[in-house]
Point group: C2
């Protein structure tokens, strides 16, 4: 059901499990959700198809894809998600930041979401960041999100002119992957539409072996639920 | 002279007077300056030609233009610089934020500069923001820049892994327009290459009447110098 009633919010929707759940939570809180996705030269464009399907099924009031070239050819790259750096497989959790980190990605995405929110007259931005079962990215941590919220309220005409205050919502921040999935299932999220794999095969199947697949599969197992996705390497 | 020696820095170069001066200051401090400009659907593409000329004349080690669609058609807009909102003319300074404000522009530009700096291994980002003779944008103020610097050091793998600390340099922040021009002239900046006008005529001449032209012309007059640009409306 499309929800264009309610206070407007911008929801970052990557097409993954976390952002699908975040959208469902924002809708359950009666926001009119304006979904925002990024075509940032990621290797796997299935993400954007998944984002469109997630936004539609999740009742977003609108969905926009912002194009931004962060490819190696444009001078960016330096991530297994945007260039040919190999995606690590079958690894156990370990300290440190993995090669799938994209420099300043969430800072860039939140900045554009902030501009979009200001244009829409929205004061609420939702992001599916979490720090329990996650890949170790610095720009998913609560201290980062808190700093961004402070910045947002200094950066914009809307905030400086005193009309209101921006809030960065990260409703998954303290949840395990199993808790995220349980929450999403309780809200009717269709996880078959989502895409999590960092390295899908040419036929579009999730690999089952990258960090993202492992976190997802572990989450479904711990939640006592079945992942509706098909995997190339079925564990 | 191209300066590819020295510590690398990212310098935001719009093609305007302030960023040309900022580049000259960064070069004088012996940074190898990687100039970054944005094709953000601004109405006046002459800015990008000016940016390229300024980067070249200013000895940048490299110059990149990042494309990012912030047009009204893409759901953004809402600024006299990116849509058809009229550019104010002949107005005196007054409180409040003018219609040439682009929502979250400097947050977005600095975020992308941050990702680029991390990729280059640079810890220094230069921006030509100033708050004395300026247009009243919230994202030029020192408290905004300070908040962005704090964010940068929470957002990135480089900073979190403890290799260093990002610094946002705004060497013009406390200077009047006249002081900026005097500084630039002393460093050999060729202001004939720069573009400041918010509303140039079809033949490419600066209007002489928008806020940006008025600040510029006032600055040259106060500096006792001659602006090498030609104006449609010569004051």
């Amino acid at each position: 059901m499309v929800g264009s009633q309610g206070r407007p919010a911008v929801v970052l929707v990557s097409g993954g499990l976390d952002s699908a759940t975040t959208l469902a939570i924002a809708r359950a809180e009666s926001y009119a959700c304006h979904a925002l996705s990024f075509d940032y030269s990621q290797r796997h464009r299935r993400e954007l198809d998944a984002a469109a399907a997630v936004a539609k099924a999740g009742g977003a009031a609108s969905h926009r894809i912002v194009r931004l070239d962060l490819s190696a050819e444009a001078g960016f790259g330096r991530s297994a998600l945007t260039d040919r750096t190999p995606v690590p497989k079958d690894r156990r959790r370990r300290p440190g930041i993995p090669p799938t980190y994209v420099p300043a990605r969430n800072t860039i995405f939140l900045s554009i979401a902030l501009g979009y929110a200001e244009i829409l007259g929205a004061w609420d931005i939702f992001i599916g960041a979490n720090v329990i079962d996650y890949s170790g990215y610095p720009d998913c941590r609560p201290e980062f999100l808190q700093a961004f919220e402070e910045l947002a309220n200094l950066a914009t005409a809307a905030a400086v002119e005193g009309c209101g205050r921006f809030t960065i919502h990260a409703p998954l921040i303290g949840l395990t992957k199993a808790q995220i999935i349980q929450r999403g299932l309780s809200l009717g999220v269709d996880y078959s539409l989502t895409h999590s794999c960092y390295d899908p095969s040419d036929d579009g199947l999730a690999c089952g072996r990258c960090d993202s697949c492992r976190l997802r599969l572990g989450g479904f197992a711990a939640a006592g639920a079945t992942d509706p996705l098909r995997y190339h390497h079925q564990p």
